[in-house]
Amino acid sequence: MKALRFWLPLVALVGFLGLAGYMLTKPKDEFVESRMVGKPLPFFTLDPAVPDRPGLASRDFATGKPRLLNIFASWCVPCAAEAPQLKALAARGVDIAGIAIRDRPEDVAAFLARYGNPYSAIGKDDLSEVQLAIGSSGVPETFVIDGKGRIAYQHIGDIRAENVSMLLKKLEEAR
């Protein structure tokens, strides 16, 4: 009994250090997930980011058809990396709306000329207002918006080739 009372604090300390050491070896989760998933898209109206595509407003989403909402920027390197995947999704008949964050029209146009333009509409968000309103914390991010205009899913970071079928499934579920 006495021995137990003597060793217990040490055992507790070693246990705590072990746990702390173990947690230190785990990589830090840098992603801040949006809490807006499951909620309706907040109200917004954005001017066109390029002359040859219309701008974007929240009312364009509750049309009965699920769409992808891609948050991107011409100055963002992973956004260029996900371009082939967006192209593949568009080729499968997915309607992709874009929001260009803090971007100049000529830079967006040059970006699209170089990497392809999979968007049916692109709104310009020069003050990250819509980005903040939907709980997005970086570029690129891709949201699945269901036919009722509700945010159904958030993909953080660039879309890799292996994510394409997952997004197609999420779109199917959001019908």
Partner: protein, 136 residues
């Protein structure tokens, strides 16, 4: 001769890698204070307790990231429009969760942080009282 290159080598190491960043001008109230000093003080106090989402160990008041500037601008515009700081904080928490706020909040997941020190203090007081009584 070779040693003459050392300072250059050190300077090269110090140079920060160019991060992906836009070339747009900052948001209107990213670096501009509100004209009303009382409102600016309110906005300032709030900004110091909001986390920059791009640079997660800094507050938006501390960060020069464009997104932090956009958040500051939005905070200032909302405060200037008469919104209460706690309402702005609640708006952001609704979007990003408790993580966006540095202000300690008692919630279902954080209450042990507040309860355990109190509990330990009580235990310490009981032990101390018993020992002192035994001595007297």
């Amino acid at each position: 001769m070779r040693w003459a290159l050392v300072p250059w080598a050190i300077l090269t190491m110090l140079a920060a890698p160019a991060g992906a960043q836009d070339s747009m001008p900052p948001a209107p109230y990213a670096y501009r204070q509100l004209d009303d000093a009382a409102q600016e003080a309110k906005a300032r106090a709030l900004m110091e307790t909001l986390r920059c989402l791009k640079c997660q160990s800094q507050s938006i008041a501390d960060s020069d990231a464009p997104m932090a500037g956009d958040m500051r601008s939005q905070v200032r515009i909302r405060i200037a429009a008469g919104e209460e700081p706690e309402a702005v904080r609640a708006w952001l928490i609704e979007r990003y969760g408790d993580y966006v706020s540095y202000k300690p909040e008692m919630s279902r997941s954080t209450w042990p942080l507040f309860a355990i020190p109190l509990l330990l203090a009580v235990v310490a007081a009981v032990i101390l009282a018993r020992r002192l009584r035994g001595r007297a």
